[in-house]
Amino acid sequence: MQLKIEPRREISRNLLYLTPFLAVLLTVVTGFVLFMLMGYDPFAAIYHFFVSPLLSLYGLSELMVKAAPLIIIGVGLAIGFRANVWNIGAEGQLTIGAIASGAVALAFWGDTGLWVLPLMCIAGVLGGMLYASIPAFLKTRFGVNEILTSLMLTYVATLFLSTLVYGPLKDPAGFNFPQSRMFTDAALLGVVFDGTRMHTGTIFALLIAVAVWVLMTFTIIGFQVRVVGQAPAAARFAGFSRNTIIWFGLLVSGGLAGLAGTFEVAGPIGQLIPVITPGYGFTAIIVAFLGRLHPLGIILSGFLMALSYIGGENAQVEVGLPQAVTGVFQGLLLFFLLASDFLVRYRVRVVRLVTETAS
């Protein structure tokens, strides 16, 4: 006897959209048992994980702050992923974007001009694009795998940021600690609701997702991206340039990652520090796939992922769950999401082998 995995001919649309909810349900059930076995109050734990962050302006605003970079980067990456352009280095492009915009903020430190913030955004986007153009160039010119180059450049970016905050961009009045000056008001994003951290960048995140949806659905380049991804032979036949799509995918995702980095330093952080991102560039890859590479799906998956972080902290504070357990819970959620996704697309069949009958 043997198990065989084969793709389903017909993928049920309904199931495809239903699976995320099913996965959440399975996670809740498994988490319930897990928490109970470990001696925590399972109702309270799950309540504080999934529900209580949604019940206050504070929780919702923090959800927006956490989800914004994931959504911005996720929709950018999804464009490339649809055309089989694998930019794994959004983390690095985010960092370079943050450096570029942070350098602008520090260069005009104390300036009150309204143009400082737009200039920072432009610098951030250009920084991210420039950094993504390295793997794009290597791929189109020499055929170097962009997965490797974009990933490895991430570490270069992080070290470059360290060099700067330990050196030229260090706060002169900061006792030699590795961080820049705090940005002045003109270089900081405004807050949407007083008393929260929900900065205007979070609104832009949603607008950007909608804009990308329009781009992918109604424009020629969006159509080309989809065709190159789904039917490369047809795309070649139609004369779509593969190189154009590679450049497009990397530049757009790099630029958006750079913008996300700008929003981080001009929003919740407010200065340059040795580590700008707790892995947003990598988490956004998961977010993009969870959202079915669709901008509107990515908004939802971005929020779900953000909720899993904030809920994890909540459960630590309120129920005393150790961080490792909340990590397991987050892992369960991803496991069920990906497993149910897999089972919608593939089926597992039991196959009897003829030779085995002898036993």
Binding site: V51, Y166, F175, Q271, Q316, V317
Partner: protein, 362 residues
């Protein structure tokens, strides 16, 4: 808007009841809620572990007067502010933020919660409701340097360190001063890991130093990997933060350990009594913030006596690890004879003293 709010309130109440959390009978005096923000997992040794030991000691001392909670592994940066804010808006009255990178987030949140008390470890920004506290770890480092100087045969000491910030550089320099006070030929080599917690890298760094001839390994990172590496390779180890002897039963000579319990208890008591005030505390050996872990079997009696004597001198204020003459690597005098380095200069330390090999990354 009002309607939305009441609806939210209703949902919240329903949720609480469903979650079996409906408050029971009212208690006479509500305990003071105290929150802790940790940068790494609590684990069973290291920086965060010692802070958590302090939290537990405070809980034992104050009993029902306090109620504590913590969040571990909070990244420095945008996430830290969210956690600090969460504590402040949930009615926590005293919040300890235990990593340097929490400084600006702590100050930002403190501005919006003027009635909440904040205690930030290792930073330099204070406010009416923000205190800072730190320990004079360098005093312990100096003493462990003496042990290393007496035990080394190769006169090469390996130091695994995370980031070249003043705190770490001060430790390296104090250790080297202690080392050279008993052994003029001994030198310290530093390998930077660029991470506070990365057991793999820390182990590699320790092994590199051992292969270069180091026969004593010490560390300023958060895992026990360098001690384990020393144990495996048959050289000596000196721990940091916690007593790390169970990770190097043979190798572990001693460790400079951190003790926050006394301070946490005092601050919490003040807050309960309504006497809390913004302060800058920098406690050393005499205040019980810094201690030496029990000596390993290999440390001979005369070395133990010497170290104990020096420890008493430091506690009495007779010995300062950075008493002049202090020379930098080039031999230039940084602190003149008869003087001791000021706290301000120690806080911003950015040079190696003589005896450290290699260049300080800038």
């Amino acid at each position: 808007m009002r309607q939305i709010k009441s609806w939210l309130g209703l949902a919240l109440a329903a949720g609480l009841v469903a979650a079996g959390l409906a408050p029971g009978g009212a208690v006479a005096a509500d305990p003071l809620k105290i929150g802790f923000v940790y940068v790494s997992p609590v684990g069973d040794a290291g920086w965060t572990y010692q802070h958590d030991q302090g939290r537990l000691e405070m809980e034992r001392a104050l009993g029902a007067k306090v109620e504590t909670s913590y969040v571990e592994s909070v990244p420095e940066g945008a996430d830290a502010e969210r956690v600090i804010r969460k504590f402040a808006s949930d009615g926590y009255q005293l919040i300890f933020t235990t990593s340097f990178g929490y400084m600006n987030p702590t100050v930002k949140v403190a501005r919006q919660f003027p009635s909440v008390h904040f205690e930030h470890a290792t930073g330099y920004k204070r406010a009416k409701n923000v205190s800072t506290y730190l320990a004079r770890f360098y005093e312990g480092r100096y003493l462990t340097g003496i042990v290393a100087g007496k035990m080394t045969k190769s006169n090469k000491i390996g130091y695994v360190a995370a980031f070249p910030i003043p705190e770490v550089v001060r430790g390296i320099n104090a250790f080297t001063r202690g080392l050279r006070s008993v052994n003029r030929k001994a030198e310290v080599r530093v390998v930077w890991t660029s991470s506070w917690y990365d057991p793999g890298k820390e182990r590699e760094a320790a092994e590199t130093l051992i292969s270069q001839g180091a026969d004593v390994i010490t560390l300023h990172t958060d895992s026990t990997a360098p001690v384990q590496a020393a144990e495996d390779k048959g050289v000596w180890a000196i721990g940091y933060h916690s007593d790390m002897s169970k990770y190097g039963k043979r190798a572990h000579l001693t460790a400079a350990t951190h003790h926050w319990g006394g301070y946490y208890t005092k601050v919490a008591e003040d807050a309960v009594a309504g006497k809390w005030a913004s302060n800058n505390t920098w406690g050393g050996i005499k205040d019980g913030f810094v201690k030496l872990a029990p000596f390993g079997d290999a440390v001979p009696a005369d070395v133990r006596q010497l170290v104990k004597a020096r420890e008493a001198e430091i506690a009495a204020g007779a010995l300062h690890p950075f008493a002049g003459p202090v020379r930098d690597q080039a031999g230039r005098i940084v602190v003149a004879e008869g003087q001791a380095m000021s706290d301000k200069d120690m806080l911003g330390m950015k040079f190696y003293v003589e005896g450290v090999v290699g260049k300080l990354p800038k």
